[in-house]
């Protein structure tokens, strides 16, 4: 296959295999292997691979169902609390228990703090390092020169005069905004700990409610930090807008970086304690009452906001993963509690049969399975992504137009926000509008707008929780019994996108437990139909804007495409062949090979 030869100096098309394995500034083990056409400045092929296997659903068989939130929290070191939370929602359904309102609000307050933390640290200490002065200087010096001479449109709000000043503020460990954000990422986690006990593996998030001792002091401690955060995001959002808009302007065509069809999913988050009863048969209604609306979107069309319909469309395919099919294994669930048929490839029936083997990009190359959404209208399996979380959350919520908290309102095409006056900043209005594309810049921009959205949901829940505490209703947990047999599911959002847990209980023990966090949806390999996973798809659509040639190529455009999904594979991407291996030299532009 590979023909290693020196390319002719001028006329040849240079195609090189390049890999980043591990990719840093994410959580977990992810490798991105590509074939890049440097002559035509595009990516021919991309493979996403994860090299870690632990087998949670295997060793969870037979355990007490009440242990599942403690165990599944340990799946991820940054979404651990999201796993814990969705496991508790799942268990609430299985046990038929509804926490007191204060318990539900505590869940929302903890999770909104988690998003405030996670989006802050990922934006400005990980993802935006790809947009910092040091990086842009190394990859696109002409862009940096332009940034030095471009004044920041919102400079009067955030205090940075030029775009290059913003970039300097994002330099790791020296930039003022980078350092400030490290601090913000601490006090927002303190907010989490007020209700969750610990971050990222909580101690007080339980089935039946929250076991933290919630008092007036808890509320005060949260309120003070929340208002400090309001102050921070009033500068953050306009600053990011300036930075991202500049990239579109400085590099025409940049909207193609990380582009893919708007095939996105959101499971919704923040149940309204006034309505939720955790019952499957009423899930359609209480799902739509969530402060972040669930949604399934194919090709930019909102197909449904019904969690039952969403649940039934889930499929787990294998294809190029190191697993054997479970088609011969037992079927646990043939119909859901409403009588709808449940597919053999649905998470309720999924079984994990690992088969470790050599990595072969033509065959099996990843420990990630390939989840897909079944499009029954066209009988196809769609590789949907989470948009890194906020892109899909904002999109579905905006489009559905169901949420109205007064200071946070979905309009059908946008989300309008009003942020209260805070220490150094006056009241501020913001609006996130559904963008025309799903690409790297818009995923990143959606994340920064999700910071105020999360803060306002936190504020709403705090006010409601204060009503409970002031009235002396401080009970935050209700007791329950584990049934002998049950099937249940939990739907929630990790910071970086959809997270679901499906459980089958038999004889009071776990018979099957299937967690599906966001990264299997985004970082999966080609499925059995050959459909690439979203990272692969987005990278294959990415043109190369980097000014470096193959010899000192950093792959910055690819890094931006991948990081826009906020990967968390408890995996990474490093360049393993250094200067790349020459794959093919030909005199006509090459297609996929």
């Amino acid at each position: 296959m590979a023909i290693a030869q020196t390319p002719p100096a001028t006329s040849g098309v240079v195609v090189k295999e390049m890999a980043w394995d591990p990719i840093t500034r994410i959580v977990g083990s992810l490798g991105i292997h590509t074939e890049i056409d440097f002559t035509n400045r595009k990516v021919n092929k991309c493979y996403s691979t994860s090299m870690i296997f632990r087998g949670f659903d295997i060793f969870m068989k037979g355990i007490d169902p009440r242990d599942t939130h403690f165990i599944t929290s340990r799946i991820c070191g940054i979404c651990g609390d999201n796993h814990c939370t969705v496991s508790c929602l799942n268990q609430n359904m299985a046990y038929g228990v509804k926490p007191p309102k204060l318990g539900d609000y505590a869940f929302n307050l903890a999770e909104s703090a988690d998003y405030m933390f996670d989006h802050a640290i990922f934006n400005d200490c990980m993802c935006n390092v790809d947009f910092c002065e040091q990086m842009v200087k190394e990859t696109n010096p002409s862009v940096l020169a332009k940034a030095e001479n471009t004044s920041a449109p919102h400079g009067d709000i955030h205090g940075y005069k030029t775009i290059a000043d913003i970039m300097r503020a994002l330099n790791p460990f020296t930039g003022s905004f980078y350092l400030e954000t490290l601090g913000v990422a601490r006090y927002t986690r303190e907010m989490y700990c007020l209700f969750g006990g610990r971050h990222t593996h909580p101690s007080t998030i339980m089935p039946g409610g929250c076991s933290a001792d919630i008092t007036h002091q808890t509320m005060t401690d949260y309120y003070v930090r929340l208002m400090r955060y309001m102050d921070y995001i009033k500068r953050t959002v306009p600053m990011h807008d300036d930075l991202y808009d500049f990239f579109y302007e400085a590099m025409p065509g940049y909207e193609q970086v990380g582009y893919r069809d708007t095939d996105i999913i959101c499971w919704g988050a923040f149940d309204d304690p006034e309505y939720v009863d955790y019952n499957y048969t009423t899930m359609t209604d209480w799902g739509r009452r969530r402060f972040i609306t669930p949604g399934l979107v194919f090709k930019g069309e909102l197909i449904t906001t019904d969690l039952v319909e969403i649940n039934l469309a889930m499929r787990i395919l294998l294809g190029h993963s190191y697993f054997e099919d479970w088609d011969q294994a037992e079927t646990f669930v043939t119909q859901d509690p409403l009588g709808n048929p449940v597919d053999k490839r649905h998470p309720w029936n999924k079984q994990t049969i690992p088969k470790p083997q050599k990595r072969d990009f033509n065959d099996k190359y990843s420990w990630v399975a390939a989840p897909r959404m079944y499009d029954k209208r066209n009988d196809i399996y769609v590789a949907t992504d989470t948009g890194g979380g906020p892109f899909a959350r904002n999109w579905c919520t905006a489009k559905a137009g169901l949420v109205d908290l007064g200071y946070l309102k979905a309009t059908g095409h946008s989300i309008q926000m009003v942020l209260p006056k805070s220490l150094n900043m006056p009241e501020m209005e913001l609006e996130w509008k559904i963008p025309p594309w799903s690409n790297a810049i818009e995923r990143d921009r959606a994340r920064t707008y999700h910071q105020p959205i999360s803060a306002l949901i936190g504020l709403h829940c705090l006010e409601k929780a204060l009503v409970e505490v002031r009235a002396g209703r401080t009970k935050s947990w209700n007791s329950f019994k584990v049934p002998d047999d049950a099937i249940s599911c939990g739907f929630h959002e990790a910071a970086r996108g959809v997270i679901s847990h499906h459980m089958v209980i038999r004889d009071g023990k776990v018979a099957n437990y299937q967690p599906y966090p966001p990264t299997p949806w985004n970082g999966n390999p080609r499925d059995k139909f050959g459909t690439p996973g979203p990272y692969e798809d987005a990278v294959q659509n990415t043109p190369i804007f980097e000014e470096n040639g193959p010899d000192n190529f950093k792959g910055i455009d690819i890094m931006r495409a991948v990081r826009s999904f906020d990967p968390c594979l408890p995996c990474g991407v490093h360049m393993y062949t250094g200067k790349g291996r020459v794959k093919k030299v030909q005199h006509t532009p090459t297609g996929m090979c």
């Binding site: 840093t24 090299m51 200490c125 990422a185 700990c193 971050h199 039946g208 470790p356 990595r359």
Partner: protein, 353 residues
Amino acid sequence: MASIEFAPRQHETEQITAHVIWLTSGLGCDGDSVAMTSAVNPSLEDIITGAIPGMPKVVAHTPVLAYENGAEFMQAWYDAEAGKLDPFVLIVEGSIPNEKINGEGHWAGMGVNPSNGQPITTNEWIDRLAPKSAATVALGTCATYGGIPAMKNNPTGAMGLCDYLGWGWTSAAGLPVVNIPGCPAQPDNTTESLTVLVMALAGITPVPELDEQHRLTMHFSRTVHEGCNRAAFYEHGNFATEYGSDHRCLVKLGCKGPVVKCNVPIRGWQSGVGGCPNVGGICMACTMPGFPDKYMPFMEEDSKAKLSSTTAKFTYGPVLRYFRNTSIKTIGDKEPEWRHPRAELTSGFTPTW
């Protein structure tokens, strides 16, 4: 003025560069690294920007925050292997799979072997780097004892680092594996241990004392119960009957605190905020070698603990509670009788006017 030193041999020790190779690709979740970013005593930026007098310059190669990607990032790994980074501390996060049981496959890897295009396993990285390290740290319960990936019925044969390397193993500087358990490790425990280790390698402080489980005694000599603000309720035989607003001792609801070595109730989770039983969460023994299997189901009282908690509840507990309550009511909550607004002084002082 330039000759003033704020720490012994400061000018000398600050010239030393200590590298930290942070291997997160064990079977884990990176939770110890993520939690570490919330540490404040000291913070990561305190360590790497030289904010502590006498502290050697620390260069941390951590995938969670690294500027570099790919080969640029991996260079430090190869340099450490080649002896070019001296001294370096190897931090291992995640449990160690058994790669002898999976044919030609891999359970955990990072980077690619140029000779065959296959991933380089985490175990191979440990084999390459640990013998050259000045100190090797197992960070988090997965790396120390195996933790959750090493649960009963696990498919990967996962184990802790000391089980992999051998409990008698020592580093190039003669140190045994330093274990910092916790799921995840408490953030300040991580950064403080790292600081102390680097200071010790520079000869500024003694090598920290370890217990028989290779834990730093400065963090792990006391039990959760011995640091818990709810412990007095146990003494009174007064136990919580439900989670949440009931602020009494959680032992009967599953808290394993009396037999778990951990300083979280003393230190809080981060910046003194949060924790486990001190804020209402049961201790699930996440710092212990037998975690999780020995402590499941977490939400049930340990059968062995029942005897002592029942004894406290039905014997001395109510007696202590009665006498202490009575004492508070009759003595503690009463003001001395000489504090009054009457037109006389009864404090015992004899007026001289």
